[in-house]
């Protein structure tokens, strides 16, 4: 996957998370650019459980590669309705398929206006360009 791979059906944070609305819930994952920067992902650690709430901008877990550790920040506030168990067993899926199979959590947003405040694909592409891509 190329590091400048973006998807037009989602919104993004400056911290390189993506969100995708699907059946009233919001799926959350990290972008190809983030994956490229991290390298080989070896651990995805979600600190939230189904039913718990998360707050926009606050960490909901960490992701580790061989040599780095980074926080995962919630792009929106809301209740966690599902987490992707696959990543506990196979964190490398994030390297292989960060936009589909390696979604991390599904959230029922508590304030939909937060979504409108996220970057659209044009704005995110611009951000990547300024980051040297």
């Amino acid at each position: 996957m190329s590091s400048d791979d973006v998807r037009s059906d989602r919104r993004y944070t400056k911290d390189h998370e993506w969100t995708k609305e699907e059946d009233g819930r919001v799926l959350v994952g990290i972008t190809a650019y983030a994956v490229d920067q991290l390298g080989d992902i070896t651990l995805v650690n979600l600190d939230v459980k189904v039913g718990e709430t998360i707050t926009q901008g606050k960490a909901f877990g960490t992701i580790e590669s061989v040599k780095t550790l980074s926080d995962l920040f919630a792009p929106v506030s809301g209740k966690v309705v599902q987490i992707n168990d696959l990543l506990e067993r196979e964190p490398e899926k994030v390297n292989e398929d960060c936009y589909d199979r390696a979604w991390m959590i599904a959230v029922e947003p508590s304030d939909r206006s937060e979504l409108d405040g996220l970057l659209d694909v044009t704005a995110y592409t611009e951000l990547l360009k300024n980051a040297g891509h």
């Binding site: 080989d40 580790e64 590669s65 040599k67 550790l69 980074s70 920040f73």
Partner: protein
């Protein structure tokens, strides 16, 4: 989400996660502005090969090319080539050079013949570690010392002061490049690179000799920092790119990969080789660091000897041990180590996934009573307690 390590942009990836403030302070003092960073003679080669350059000990060095795991595996299965030109090369010469060198190191340089080298540490008067070094006896009157880049200024001052009025001292670092060629196929590859290739294959471990490789005059030493067979090659800076390019081209068909600092670190960790600033520093002594084998208390006087004799007589209070994670978690430099009831008893000095051993591994200091193989401990991974067990080291040992 790109948190502590990569948020600042693609050129700021750290090679080791460092949560404790002391460590961050230490690294940030090493982290100069890009303009002040030094470049090795292989800088353009790294760019050409897609290396990701990061600040390291005042140098702009490749942390990785293709990816740390691929590079690590290439070194274990075939060969890897590393630029370690940032390391310091100090030369002492004259009739008294042997005595000056031997007075500053804990190992016994008198055991060396011409063309032989040894691993050692240099201690201060308190018996703690100033640096770890390889000492090469070129001849009875000419000695080469290789020190860590981060310690170069300190070691230059230390050796220069000791040499004053006794022998000549020369800091050759700026005109010397150093390339490490490591892996089971490293020697076979070398044989293709120059006339002396076959002779180099006969070079015993920790021996060195002059050779011409890719038309570049070199000194080749059978040493390394990966746990694999291999060599480290000294050459003049102006020949380094030519030699590097030749080895990269010759190696491509057999699976050689250029390898960065990140792979160098995971390789040395699996082989349980200490990294200065992590396992060893001026707050640790070589006995507790598992380096008693390089301390020769009976060789005559040397800097730190009195203190080391006292440490030995008193018995060790703590020991550097290896551990494997049992629970889901990766230990990192600076994470607290806890006993079974959750009391902090030590610190992790290095930790990461071990690509060859297939486990999350770490090194750290534990009280002697908890240092036995098989002891259960916990690692405080940023507030999460993850179980681990003390294991035998090295984590990886090559079969041949």
């Amino acid at each position: 989400m790109l948190g502590s390590c990569v948020r600042a942009g693609p050129h700021r990836t750290t090679i080791d996660f460092a949560p404790d403030p002391d460590y961050i302070a230490r690294v940030s003092t090493m982290d100069q502005s890009p303009a002040a960073l030094r470049r090795t003679p292989l800088y353009d080669e790294h760019l050409r090969l897609g290396g990701r350059l990061v600040p390291y000990a005042g140098w702009e060095m490749p942390v990785q090319y293709k990816g740390v795991t691929d590079e690590h595996r290439a070194v274990r299965a075939a060969a890897g080539i590393f630029d370690v030109s940032h390391m310091g090369e100090l030369v002492l010469s004259g009739d008294s050079a042997a005595d000056v060198v031997n007075h500053l190191i804990t190992n016994d340089a008198k055991r060396l013949m011409d063309g032989q080298a040894l691993y050692t540490v240099a201690c201060n008067d308190a018996g703690t570690i100033l640096d770890d070094l390889i000492v090469y006896r070129v001849s009875q009157t000419k000695w080469l010392i290789v020190c860590n880049a981060a310690n170069r200024d300190k070691m230059v001052a230390h050796f220069r002061a000791a040499a004053a009025n006794h022998c000549d001292f020369d800091d050759a670092s700026d005109r010397t490049a150093l390339i490490a060629l490591q892996g089971p196929k490293a020697l076979a590859l070398l044989a293709q690179a120059g006339g002396e290739g076959a002779a180099l294959a006969e070079l015993p471990s920790f021996h060195f000799r002059d050779a011409t490789l890719a038309n570049v005059p070199c000194t080749v030493a059978r040493t390394g920092y990966t746990g694999e067979d291999g060599v480290e090659i000294f050459c003049p800076t102006d020949g380094a790119a030519q030699l590097w390019r030749a080895l990269v081209e010759l190696g491509a068909p057999i699976g050689l990969e250029p390898a960065g600092l990140a792979a160098r670190d995971t390789l040395r960790l699996e082989a349980r080789l200490s990294l200065y600033g992590n396992e060893i520093d001026e707050s640790t002594n070589p006995l507790e660091a598992g380096l008693a084998w390089v301390v020769k208390l009976d060789k005559g006087d040397f800097v730190g000897r009195t203190a080391l004799e006292r440490f030995k007589a008193a018995g060790l209070t703590r020991k550097l041990v290896g551990f494997e994670m049992i629970g889901r978690g990766i230990a990192r430099h600076g994470y607290p180590l806890l006993d079974k009831v959750g009391i902090k008893v030590g610190l992790c000095t290095s930790g990461s996934p071990g690509p060859t051993v297939g486990k999350n591994i770490g090194l750290g200091y534990l009280p002697t009573s908890l240092a036995e193989v098989g002891t259960s401990i916990e690692v405080d991974c940023r507030g999460r307690s993850v179980s681990a067990v003390v294991v035998k080291t090295p984590f990886y040992k090559r079969s041949s």
